[in-house]
């Protein structure tokens, strides 16, 4: 009964969010995010109908739609790159390279892990493992992007901040819950049934509040005519730090 109620509330909130986005023309501003949300709404309604009309087809369809939505969830990363980092070429480049490094590391780990692990997971946990790994990679990517945005003190704006927080809460919770699931914790079923949908409801409420109207990040800072280019800026900063470190290290030894 609780699950059904959460399901209905989620569909209602998603519909309100989409309706509001169409009305305030946010769909055109954040196409990847609303593509993801539209897919979630369609999947939710379809799954609800299937669960009533053809319950035996529900598990397979549920897995397929979840994979689709996980892939479309990467659209949120695209929105961040398009709306936040694109205004700061330096920070964007840093995030891109760091993301690539993380991707290569994750890929190496994924290739190496089967060689050292005890064996393939049991068949009924395999799906949870794949879903968990997909979400974990997404979490790592977002982690890197948070780092870059915070380090360079970039204002993401209310819309994108809400988008990130809403999705992030669901993502972090899902990774933890699926980790418990893939380790065959006895009460996993109960935890997942309640915690994941509740975190998703929280995400929807956050999105509804943050995406009620268009609120982009503050205007790009004026591009002052810097006399020195990046190389000289970084060079002079590095030189200064090097001198300071050497002096302070010598001082500390005194």
């Amino acid at each position: 009964m609780t699950t059904l109620l959460i399901w209905w509330v989620a569909i209602a909130l998603e519909t309100v969010l989409l309706g509001r986005a169409l009305y305030s023309r946010l769909v055109g501003k954040y196409p990847f995010f609303f593509l993801y949300l539209s897919s979630v709404v369609i999947c939710d309604i379809s799954l609800f109908c299937v669960s009533k009309l053809e319950p035996s087809a529900y598990p397979a369809l549920s897995r397929q739609t979840e994979v689709l939505n996980i892939v479309l969830g990467y659209g949120i990363l695209l929105e961040i790159f398009t709306h936040v980092l694109a205004r700061y070429p330096g920070a964007e480049r840093f995030a891109r390279v760091a993301g690539l490094v993380v991707f290569v590391l994750v890929l190496c780990l994924a290739l190496a892990y089967p060689l050292v692990s005890a064996g393939a997971p049991q068949s009924h946990f395999r799906y949870s493992v794949v879903e968990r790994d997909f979400l974990a990679v997404q979490a790592i990517f977002l982690f890197v992007v948070f780092g870059v945005i915070s380090y360079y003190r970039i204002d993401a704006g209310r819309n994108i901040t809400g988008m990130i927080i809403g999705y992030g809460v669901w993502l972090g919770t899902s990774v933890a819950v699926l980790a418990l699931g893939s380790y065959s914790v006895a009460s996993f079923g109960q935890i997942r049934i309640l915690v994941q949908p509740l975190s998703y409801l929280f995400s929807l409420l956050t999105w509804l509040s943050a995406l009620w109207s268009y609120a982009p990040s503050s205007a790009s800072p004026a591009r002052l005519s810097l006399r020195a280019d990046y190389e000289s800026l970084a060079g002079s900063t590095a030189e200064t730090i090097g001198k300071m470190r050497a002096e302070l290290a010598r001082t500390a030894r005194l």
């Binding site: 700061y88 070429p89 330096g90 920070a91 480049r93 840093f94 760091a98 974990a136 979490a139 790592i140 977002l142 982690f143 948070f146 915070s150 380090y151 360079y152 003190r153 970039i154 204002d155 993401a156 901040t161 990130i164 927080i165 992030g168 809460v169 993502l171 972090g172 919770t173 990774v175 933890a176 699926l178 980790a179 418990l180 893939s182 380790y183 503050s218 800072p221 004026a222 591009r223 002052l224 810097l226 006399r227 020195a228 280019d229 990046y230 190389e231 800026l233 970084a234 002079s236 900063t237 590095a238 200064t240 730090i241 001198k243 470190r245 002096e247 302070l248 001082t251 500390a252 005194l254």
Partner: protein, 193 residues
């Protein structure tokens, strides 16, 4: 089991970083503000914190000798305690100004499309270690008192002066006229608010 712990740690770390992200202040946003603050940091360092008469006054041995000559242990203890507070506050001010100068570097670097991630990563590490060293100096002053390490103070002053010189060069494009204009804009905005 290790795998489970790793994923749980990842989930928890991610949620913690999300919380930090939600609570972060975006007040450093805006090129003009960063440059103004960096400029103010430079002025504070050059005019208020680093001139010899300031730190020589704070760490003057003459005062200490005079208090000792009075022969009152309670008075000496109180004097040392007060002087330590002033010295710690002085180092803290220097540390804060260095943070402002770092913000200036970040504010400028994020706009450069030629930014080198490797160089930035190295600079981030070096700024971090530098600020840690400042903390170490504060600890040394706290533990050993303001008169225990006069050479250390001299070194800090010398290094901070060099930072000022380099930063001033990096901010050379910002003439006094532009600073006044930016300051005027900020003041006007504040009045409007």
């Amino acid at each position: 089991m290790i795998q489970l712990v790793l994923y749980l740690v990842l989930g928890a770390a991610f949620l913690a970083s999300l919380y930090a992200f939600a609570r972060r202040s975006a007040s450093a946003e805006g090129g003009a503000q960063i440059i103004l603050r960096a400029r103010q940091a430079l002025s504070a360092l050059q005019a208020d914190l680093l001139p010899p008469q300031v730190f020589e006054r704070i760490f003057a041995n003459g005062d200490y000798r005079y208090i000792i000559s009075a022969g009152d242990p309670a008075l000496t203890a109180m004097f040392l305690s007060e002087r330590r507070k002033i010295a710690l506050s002085w180092v803290e001010q220097i540390r804060r100004q260095i943070v402002s100068l770092r913000e200036f570097h970040l504010g400028s670097a994020r706009l450069h499309s030629q930014l080198s991630p490797r160089v930035e990563a190295r600079l981030a590490f070096e700024f971090f270690t530098l600020l840690c060293v400042c903390r170490f100096l504060q600890l040394a002053l706290y533990l050993r008192g303001p008169y225990a390490a006069p050479r250390m103070v001299g070194r800090v002053v010398a290094v901070a002066s060099r930072v000022c010189a380099t930063s001033e060069e990096a901010m050379g494009f910002l003439s006094a006229v532009k600073v006044d204009r930016l300051a005027g804009k900020s003041a006007h905005k504040m009045t409007a608010l």
